[in-house]
């Protein structure tokens, strides 16, 4: 009996899978998919990506890339990321930057050893003033070597924030347009002032205050050890405090506000869209859903393009901040290694290098903060589609 029931259910299952009704349904699905693909191509043609294309043409790593082609590949799933080669490229970059810092490391080590040797002969035949001068010159030499490496790192950091600001000004109008076209008019209205604020005033605040404060902390760490008469530790603490407060307030307030408002607005848009569809379907008993077919295609197509553009922007963001973050990581490693190597020689150079390694973290935090806020807005703009449909 059990065997008979098993065979019967298997036969019924096979009939369901291979029945003509299922085949017709699958054919209809394929037709709808082809129609959607065609509409997406038409909508992509109508989207003005000239500014984004011009921006990409100016970047070394993205030259020759067509924005619309990449968006189409993202929508169809043809674009695949090779994570292993990405990891290898990052390690290779770190290694190259580390090798470039070896001459500076050798100079610092030599100067500190010499300074240590001469300092130990202070009481024997060198006057204390001469020792002060020798220490002063050694400190300036070591500091000069460190600052020479640091300038490139700081320039990369400032450049990254300027690039992120440019990207925001190009990408946000496109994303908001696509969001409005995909039924998220209220969400777009909510996000618009927030993204304008992020790409404008907030980015300028980071470029003009936060990053310069972290640079001031670094500079004051350097000059604070020059003379025992003039100390700048408390001034350095003041700038650190300003940086920490600005980062904390910006992250907390902005991200909380954006997340809550964005989700609420998306829920409202979703209910409005479903209510409109229900009204249209309800008033026409037989062909109601067919009436809104064109609108559904535009909404779905716009949503897919929006999500693809959001994903593309995230890749662009990662490409922008990868270099300065890896540079800073290599530089901090170099400073800590130098501090460890010069510690046995004695003197203040080792503690200066160690303190500098810690202070560079504020600069890194500034870059990562603005990158995180940009990333968060992109994710919210992309994910709002899931609530609407």
């Amino acid at each position: 009996m059990k065997k008979f029931l098993l065979i019967l259910s298997a036969i019924l299952l096979l009939c369901t899978v291979f029945s003509p009704a299922e085949k017709a349904h699958a054919a209809a699905e394929e037709e709808r998919q082809a129609e959607l693909d065609e509409k997406i191509d038409e909508l992509l043609e109508g989207l003005d990506t000239e500014e984004l294309q011009k921006y990409l043409s100016g970047l070394e790593d993205f030259k020759g890339i067509s924005v619309k082609e990449k968006l189409k590949q993202l929508i169809t799933g043809e674009l695949k990321l090779d994570y292993s080669s990405l990891f290898e490229a990052s390690l290779s970059f770190l290694w190259e930057e580390g090798k470039a810092m070896i001459p500076a490391f050798a100079l610092i080590l030599a100067v500190t050893l010499l300074c240590g040797l001469l300092g130990s002969s202070n009481n024997d035949f060198l006057h204390s003033t001469m020792s002060d001068i020798i220490y002063f010159v050694a400190y300036l030499s070591a500091g000069g070597a460190v600052l020479a490496c640091l300038i490139g790192v700081l320039q990369a950091g400032f450049g990254a924030i300027s690039e992120m600001k440019k990207q925001m000004e190009i990408v946000y109008p496109l994303l908001l347009t696509l969001m409005s076209a995909s039924g998220g008019a209220v969400s777009a209205g909510i996000f618009r002032p927030a993204v304008v604020f992020l790409s404008g005033a907030l980015s300028d605040l980071f470029l003009s205050v936060v990053l310069p404060c972290s640079v001031a902390v670094i500079i004051l760490a350097f000059i604070g050890n020059l003379s025992t008469d003039v100390r700048t530790e408390k001034l350095g603490e003041f700038f650190k405090s300003v940086t920490k407060w600005l980062l904390g307030i910006t992250l907390t307030v902005f991200s909380l506000f954006l997340t809550v408002q964005g989700i609420t607005a998306a829920q409202y848009d979703g209910i409005s869209l479903r209510a409109a569809k229900y009204v249209v379907s309800g008033s026409v008993p037989i062909v109601g859903s067919f009436l809104s077919g064109g609108m559904e295609l535009v909404v779905a197509g716009s949503a897919l393009i929006k999500n693809a553009l959001g994903s593309f922007s995230i890749f662009l963001l990662i490409g922008t901040i990868a270099r300065p973050v890896l540079l800073l990581a290599a530089f901090q490693l170099f400073l800590r290694l130098s501090a460890a190597a010069t510690e046995p020689a004695g003197g203040k150079i080792s503690s200066f290098l160690s303190r500098l390694a810690g202070d560079c973290g504020y600069f890194l935090a500034g870059i990562l903060c603005i990158a995180f806020l940009y990333f968060l807005t992109l994710v919210l703009l992309v994910c709002s589609t899931g609530v609407l449909l």
């Binding site: 509409k39 038409e42 909508l43 043609e45 109508g46 989207l47 003005d48 003033t129 002060d132 001068i133 002063f136 000004e169 109008p173 496109l174 908001l176 347009t177 696509l178 409005s180 076209a181 008019a185 618009r192 993204v195 304008v196 604020f197 790409s199 404008g200 005033a201 907030l202 980015s203 300028d204 605040l205 003009s208 205050v209 310069p212 404060c213 640079v215 001031a216 500079i219 004051l220 350097f222 000059i223 604070g224 020059l226 003379s227 025992t228 008469d229 003039v230 700048t232 001034l235 008033s283 026409v284 062909v287 067919f290 009436l291 077919g293 064109g294 609108m295 295609l297 535009v298 716009s302």
Partner: protein, 152 residues
């Protein structure tokens, strides 16, 4: 900000050099004291500017403009779809052959106007043409809630 940091660094550097080369005794103490006052004045100089009302401003762009060409492309697409759908609907409901043009807003993509040109009245009687025009107009206005024009 950059100028301020550089000026502080320069002042401290100068003070350190003076501290090293200053002679011992009262003259040296006097020089060190002056250099400390100089560094202090450089440190507090921005606050005088703030007291005078020179506050920094961080205004950026005021607004982001939407891509009007995209909305226009969407509106064109929807107008094409709407025309086909309404033509099929009128064929089914009234057995009429029609040429339909629609107008969608390029701001919010809502349907603004439907224009129907009757090509053939099908099985409808010759005398019922005026009734057909008003029936079609009323039907479409009720269904879509927008301005409708039916041309016989």
């Amino acid at each position: 900000m950059k100028a301020y940091v550089l000026s502080v660094a320069g002042a401290v550097l100068l003070s350190a050099v003076l501290a090293i080369i200053a002679p011992s005794g009262r003259t040296g103490k006097f020089i060190k004291g002056i250099s400390k006052v100089f560094v202090l004045s450089v440190l507090v100089s921005p606050f005088f500017g703030l007291l005078k009302g020179n506050t920094p401003s961080f205004s950026g762009k005021n607004a982001f403009e939407s891509d009007v060409s995209y909305f226009t492309a969407c509106a064109d697409l929807l107008e094409e779809e709407d025309s086909k759908e309404i033509q099929a609907l009128l064929q089914e409901q009234f057995e009429l052959e029609t040429e339909v043009t629609t107008k969608r807003s390029s701001v919010d993509l809502s349907l603004k106007k439907i224009t129907v040109k009757l090509v053939s009245f099908g099985i409808n009687e010759q005398g019922g043409h005026i009734d057909i025009v008003s029936d079609v107009q009323a039907y479409l206005e009720k269904r879509y809630g927008c301005e409708t024009e039916v041309l016989p």
